[in-house]
Symmetry: C3
Subunit: 349 residues, 3 copies
């Protein structure tokens, strides 16, 4: 292999507290916003209509928070997960600035934990990744951990260090956008729902009813848009000989599909404020149909005009969600459940 191509890092290449600067800053534009709509069919009004956004005090429609997330995530792949076996989890995700078109985003990460697996073939790498805008202001930060192959199983590695991560982002850490008011100006005729913070109860479950079948072109178009270079999503020649015999769909694509479906039941939960946790519990493949349900885990009043819902977003494949398919008492998930994602969304009170 040429010394000019990126072989990616193997587990033994990572050092605790190592700082990684990720390449390819990316200017997100109206074009990316249109593609995001076309790929997921998202219908949250704040991201759909400049007039609505301006009515609340935004400059114009912000980009979907998950488009921003996937863009930052994509940048981190070449250094962090090119040799990953699996993306294991997320925590401590905070969306600190909602982004308008024509913002250039870049990403950097710090290794905050390392733990070799007992088979010595792989290890778990914990990183905190930060996204920044043109003004060097933080747009989001999150922790993820991935299982990464060792180049050489015999290679010696440092002492295991597993970071202490909070179970969830505390409501006090959620900052709704300044200069914006989610009050009487929030027109439910336009948003498509009359349900606000007060109308949701802790423990309540919502079946999002609709299903979306995924094609190979769809997920590859999305994942290339995010400049995510993970090989398993794109290369049928090699994947045909691999673990599943086919291309694996980027986990973030599942999050966006489920979030778009969740509009039907959560139309006023217009911004994502935090990611408390998330697991891709089974793989998704082209031809599968994605369904989703949500559960309200918690509620928080943030300001006079808005609060936040802590939501568990569960996605399935080829299984409608009127029965709220879930893990069993032992924590084992049915094969049809593909995502268990825990996040905070901002909603008018």
């Amino acid at each position: 292999m040429s010394n000019k191509t990126n072989p990616g890092n193997y587990f033994e290449d990572f050092k605790l507290h190592q700082k990684l600067v990720h390449a390819t800053p990316r200017t997100l534009t109206e074009g990316d916003a249109s593609l995001y709509h076309a790929i997921y069919g998202s219908r949250f009004v704040l991201q759909s209509a400049d007039s609505f956004a301006r009515g609340l005090g935004f400059k114009e429609s912000p980009l979907d928070d998950l488009l921003v997330f996937h863009t930052i995530f994509g940048k981190s792949v070449p250094e962090i997960s090119l040799n990953a076996v699996a993306n294991l989890g997320y925590a401590e995700g905070r969306f600190t600035k909602h982004i308008y078109p024509n913002t250039t985003l870049r990403a950097r990460s710090e290794v905050i934990g390392l733990k070799e697996n007992s088979n010595r073939q792989t290890g778990v790498v914990y990183v905190r990744t930060v996204g920044l805008d043109d003004h060097d202001e933080q747009v989001l930060s999150y922790v993820r951990w991935v299982m990464v192959r060792k180049r050489d199983p015999e290679a010696a590695v440092g002492e295991a260090h597993v970071p202490e991560l909070t179970d969830h982002v505390p409501p006090s850490a959620i900052v709704p956008p300044n200069h914006v008011r989610f009050d009487t100006l929030f027109d439910t005729g336009q948003s498509g729902s009359k349900c606000f913070l007060k109308d949701y109860e802790i423990g309540e479950k919502i079946d999002h009813v609709d299903g979306m079948t995924v094609e190979e072109s769809d997920h590859m178009l999305a994942t290339r848009l995010y400049q995510n270079t993970a090989k398993v999503h794109f290369n049928q020649f090699s994947e045909s000989k691999g673990r599943f015999g086919k291309r694996l769909i980027y986990g973030g694509h599942v999050i966006s599909l489920a979030r778009a479906l969740s509009h039907n039941g959560l139309a006023n939960a217009v911004l994502i404020a935090g990611i408390n946790g998330g697991r891709h519990v089974n793989p998704l493949f082209a031809g599968d149909t994605v369904f989703a349900w949500s559960q309200v885990l918690d509620k928080a009043e943030l300001r006079k005009d808005c609060g936040a819902l802590r939501l568990r977003l569960v996605a399935t494949k080829n299984l409608p969600c009127e029965g709220f398919p879930d893990k069993d008492a032992d924590g084992k998930y049915p094969d049809n459940v593909i995502l268990d994602f825990d996040y905070w969304a901002i909603i008018p009170r």
Copy 2:
């Protein structure tokens, strides 16, 4: 089902003269225009080149009229056709304002007719839908009628009312854009055709020659872009058990495909001014190849610089159109004919 999700209206839920405000205003941008080009390969010069549009007096290239139509149509689905069996027809469509990128569109409808079917399982709902822009100005209006399921076949419904609809939009109702001149500035080297209003004869038929094969990703990408939520287009899991065993392609996608093909023969018919009628006479599925032919039904001189062609646009699947496949003497269509659409297009004289 949660009371927070939209179950759609059933036939017995509609009231004559009921007014419906549709959710999710949508700002269409250059990004949407690019996607429209990529999805249909449309080549009408007015929508392709800002320089050409400015030469005629437009501010810049307007968005394709059908992109505007599909966006408004999509907004009306949640209230009108979520429980529809079939989209039966269109009439009295008028495009009253041609739209530039960065316009926010919203939609409302009025129920103008209701007629239960004799089996009492379904009924026909007639609505007039209006699209509005940021300035509350009407962009388009059209009537469509759909067959909608009853929730309860036994439910009592009001007296049947079938609206009187005109057979076609009269030329006097067509208003070409002000401050625009389609005269000597209209460069046929750029538009790709030397044929103007005077060159078309009433009765003339034109085979548009080319064919376009449709993939699942293509039509879903388009229909999600329009935020159309009709389940039959997206959910292979449920459709595999349904009427056709597969996803049904949005009828509007067929109109746009046929219109794009019609550039080859009608390149100077650059704006759509009215929809006189339209029927989706057979379904289209992924893998099918769409062909189209047109017939000149009428001509009208509107101003010194431009007139309108009344065109019948017929689309087929897997059947080239050099023989102009058509309904027979009894009005029965061959299985390969999928669309019979009657519209007015503005063309220089």
Copy 3:
């Protein structure tokens, strides 16, 4: 066939020195740039990040040079290659102006050579095609030659004339953009590579490692975006009865895929300056996976801040490139090699 549709030119229709004005000028926007990213996953930093581009002295990110090339190429299809059997080669390509979003491009061509084949069924047409912007300034020019069917094999044609074409664009003809400096401002942390002109050796081969599987939707979306009307890319109904039994992928799509893959090894070769030659040596079909390797053919120092690499970009299908698959001693290519493309790219010194 109606006299209103374009039958394309047959070999006997072309005259030496004939000038052709191509229809449908096209304004390329941010939306097209986003689609280009989504379709190819290109990661060259100059085209990804406005902030980076501005740092070097560009107004903003220029559009990918190949997006410009494909747009100009697409315009030339209706007059030149609608009745083509094969696109045989390219030469003397020069990118003389790098283009920003919202530029309107148009194209014209001149026939510079004609040679009937001995079977009298076909002939080779050589054209020089020029792309122009809003200011009537030349954006690019290139020669291509195509094998075109005769309408009537018996038709008499003029004397054969094969133009003299240079083997490659001389470095003296490459003009890097003015008002731009590729020096210390070029941040390798952002570009993703530390390798500059001096780090590449003539003769050096680089395997670009990654593979990209192509779906029908992907290549049709791209080729429609370019408003390319060549029938073989879109019409499965007719192609199912044709030479290959399936749709043939636009050769330019292969160039863009291979160029995007070449980022892994050539990340700092951010602009294309010239096309020396190119052959589509085997066809590509949906379902195939594209790989690529490059060889450095030459190096040139253009200014104090930048130079150019003359690169041979070879693409394969379903064959990884660690062995640099190539033509044999007789110049015969293996069936898996699909592209042999020779171009100049600008890179900081």
